[in-house]
Amino acid sequence: MSTDDATTVANDRLVDREDMIVCVDVDKWYGDFQALNGVTATIKEGEVAVVCGPSGSGKSTWIRCINRLEVHQAGDIFVDGIELSNDLRNIEKIRSEVGMVFQQFNLFPHLTVLDNITLAPIWVRKKPRAEAETAARALLDRVGIPEQAEKFPGQLSGGQQQRVAIARSLAMEPRVMLFDEPTSALDPEMIKEVLDVMKELARSGITMMVVTHEMGFAREVADRIIFMEGGEIVEVGTPEHFFTNPTEDRTKLFMSQIL
């Protein structure tokens, strides 16, 4: 670890914000294979952090540990001050505050777009249906597809599906959004429409943690870039730092390969 310590803040506007996600020495093994090795990082409230690195570097595993889709074996994870442990109540609380967008969208194919979005607000947040539907339509409007509310996910293009997935997460009014390679399964011409939605979201001030290979997106909106390899955080810094003079050799190699 060098230049910037993982816990330092890259952007002045975030200096006196609360810590939103705190990871301390997080380890995870799959059998004998160590997927995460002493991952330590702090994400501030309102920060946009992009996690990048070669495939198999543990970035997806890490982000999935943050809402307990994967279970870490050692170290501590705190989200908004709540410790992620085996306590079901904590997991429930964290999940209702953390939205997640998947590479494969994972929309519910048997429900309409509107039902996909309103399901959790109605049954988890206990909102009245009418109110949830109004909010859902507003969200669809925000992601730019208000006319698709009554369709089924199978009738939409990949980019539209991913935007519905973003709306579905936002419907829970999360304080943190996690994106796990949101554009990797999309055709090139659809990537932009999803990235535009994510940029708009980033400017709205929500805390975001994004695993992606879209370095243009990272350069434009990220407060910090976290580079991982072999289950470890190798280098953390501002986008300028990464694009102009990365310190570590592995980072240099990676940047030269993808740019």
């Binding site: 994972n106 519910f108 988890v124």
Partner: protein
């Protein structure tokens, strides 16, 4: 090589318009491409046609043979349907059938837009059936010769003497006329709708079905089918008149109910009442088999003193106290205490059942069931926390469930007033259908629970469900049925009794649930990991994830297997004969051949039974295809 390129060039030139649709081939072209494309296929076609004709000839000669005694079937139609249900109370059977007819009409009206059959297609049906009749008339062997004294002529060797082929054909003049009329009608309609503006004319499916059934009912009043029956044990055979008034009148009412309620149902479609009518007709389908059997057909003689002193207060107590408890448990601040209460109640309910088997803790069966229901309702209660309207839904649901359970339990515990002629008051098709429907209805939730248990994360649930499924699947149905009818009554504690039919229903349900569980599990496994993760990520609880995400997708995939299971369950009810119940097949196989009038006449009844089984199963199968289309199987 040069030839090949020529073809390609030609194809390129001819490619100006879209290719011809497959349906517009002429008959000759169709035959050539599909049946006679090469010499090997031609031989296969000819052999296949020859085999089919032989089989048809066999069936015809069997059905219309002089040795067939179809009187045995027409006299015993009522016995085949309900066995010995007493004549004096038969109106109860008609009420039950009438209710189902009305419900069927209502559902057909409010649920489906049945679409239409094209007129052109119907004309081909007419011509096709005309051709088929002609084939039958040609294939059926000539009749035997009967002399003026009514004796069958035999040759010297003792074989039957038959008419010549031409004599037989002239004898069947009536059939030939029918053939000509059918083909002429078909051809006329075909010609009529070949004009371009009539090509797409169609008639509603409902019109076709209702008028077909209407013609059938009308024929009861007009066609001299003859009056054949056993009335109070005496054999009646009056040919040359229409069927008895007590048959044609009820069927006319049945048709009117079906027809009339269809329009009632349709008038609700696309109105604000549609949802309510759909919901309540579904609910009635679920309740009606039990209510019709135990209340309408069985006619319990209520002991009002006992009802007022025990049944009613108990039902009210469970309803009111349970309702209050659920109201408290759905308060926004119920939280942890609510979960603990639910788990405690579940433990208590389980204890009641275990204690009952050791005779420790006497309690009415109804109370045990009610305690279990209270516990289950308390478990789902957290899902209804929120607005008052949502909480009220749970309470209303609870009160109606209690009313229904206590009403049904009281009715089932009250002795019947039907004058029994055997241990069970119903037999024949009625019993077969009842058992099949109840077993399917009860084993479905049980099977789903077992499948969920087997795919659960908790080792104890997984182990219990797996061993249950494997044990039941390792045992033949007959032994399960015998076990429940003969052995289980021995294990029951003093004072707990199980009627023969109840024992069989229990055993068969447990058996069927194990198979159903495996079919459902197949569907559950097709739900991808991403669906679970997405459900978790938006914060659904495990119960909500299962109910809203996993089950709907899993069940949709298992529809074909589930329908197969339903069909198998329906057919295997014929095993009930082995433990002494008189199911449909047994009436044909043992009851009719034992009558002195029809001693040993078996084949006719069995043929009819086979046809009726086929009719039901084919209908189920066809409907499931429609269902698969509607839920969009395959477009995931």
């Amino acid at each position: 090589m040069s030839k090949l390129s020529d073809i390609n060039v030609e194809a390129g030139i001819a490619d100006a318009g879209p290719p011809q649709q497959g349906g517009s081939l002429s008959v000759g072209q169709w035959l050539r491409t599909n049946l006679f494309s090469n010499w090997f296929n031609s031989i296969l076609t000819l052999l296949g046609v020859f085999a089919a004709l032989l089989m048809l000839r066999g069936v015809l000669n069997f059905t219309f043979s002089e040795n067939r005694e179809w009187d045995a079937v027409r006299t015993n139609l009522r016995a085949l349907m309900t066995l010995s249900y007493p004549e004096s109370q038969y109106v109860r059977v008609w009420v039950a059938v009438g209710f189902l007819m009305a419900l069927a009409g209502m559902s057909a009206g409010v649920w489906e837009n049945w679409g239409g059959v094209s007129v052109k297609r119907m004309s081909t049906w007419l011509m096709g059936s005309g051709g088929f009749f002609a084939l039958c008339v040609l294939l059926r062997e000539p009749s035997v010769i009967i002399d003026s004294e009514g004796k069958v002529l035999r040759t010297v060797e003792g074989t039957l003497q038959r008419e010549s082929f031409w004599a037989a054909m002239t004898d069947r003049l009536g059939w030939w006329i029918a053939v000509v009329v059918l083909i002429a009608m078909g051809a006329a309609i075909w010609a009529w709708c070949s004009e371009p503006d009539r090509r797409n004319n169609s008639v509603a499916v409902t019109t076709v079905v209702f008028s077909g059934l209407g013609l059938l009912v009308l024929s009861l009043w007009l066609v001299p089918y003859g009056h054949y029956a056993f009335a109070d044990g005496t054999y009646i055979a009056v040919p040359g008149r229409t069927v008895a008034f007590s048959t044609k009148m009820p069927w006319t009412v049945m048709w009117l109910l079906l027809f009339g309620l269809y329009f009632v149902g349709r008038s609700f479609r696309d109105t604000q009442w549609q949802g309510i009518v759909r919901g309540s007709s579904n609910l009635l389908w679920l309740i009606s088999p039990m209510a019709l059997f135990w209340v309408v057909l069985r006619d319990p003689a209520l002991d009002y003193a006992h009802v007022l002193s025990t049944d009613l207060p108990m039902g009210l107590a469970f309803g009111v106290l349970g309702g209050v408890l659920l109201w408290v448990l759905t308060r926004a601040d119920a939280g942890e205490a609510g979960r603990l209460t639910a788990v405690g109640l579940l433990g208590f309910a389980a204890f009641n059942w275990v204690a009952a088997f050791f005779g420790l803790y006497p309690m009415l069966q109804k109370a045990r069931i009610s305690f279990l229901l209270v516990a289950l309702a308390a478990l789902v209660a957290p899902n209804f926390i929120g607005e008052v309207a949502k909480r009220r839904q749970l309470i209303v649901g609870w009160l109606s469930a209690m009313a229904l359970v206590h009403y049904m339990a009281t009715m089932m515990n009250t002795p019947s007033t039907v004058e029994l002629q055997s241990s069970e008051f119903l037999g024949g098709l009625g019993l077969t259908l009842f058992v099949a429907v109840i077993v399917v209805l009860l084993s479905f939730p049980l099977g789903v629970l077992l499948a969920l248990g087997r795919t659960s994360k908790f080792p104890i649930f997984r182990m219990l469900s797996t061993s249950y499924i494997e044990i039941i699947r390792g045992v033949p149905l007959i032994s399960v049925l015998i076990f429940f009818s003969v052995m289980v009554p021995l294990f029951l504690p003093d004072g707990m009794e199980l009627a023969e039919l109840a024992a069989v229903l229990t055993g068969y349900t447990l058996f069927s649930a194990a198979y159903l569980a495996e079919n459902v599990r197949g569907g559950l496994q097709s739900v991808t990991k991403g669906q679970y993760e997405a459900a978790d990520a938006i914060g659904l609880t495990a119960v909500q994830r299962t109910g809203f995400i996993v089950l709907p997708q899993g069940l949709r995939v298992s529809i074909p297997q589930l329908v197969g299971q339903v069909i198998a369950t329906f057919k295997e009810t014929s095993l009930l004969a082995i433990i002494g119940l008189f199911d449909f097949l047994r009436v044909a196989n043992s009851v009719i051949p034992a009558q002195s009038e029809f001693m040993g006449v078996k084949r006719e009844g069995i043929l009819l039974v086979a046809m009726i089984y086929f009719f039901f199963n084919f209908t189920i199968s066809k409907y499931s295809q429609r269902l698969e289309l509607r839920v969009g199987l395959g477009e995931r």
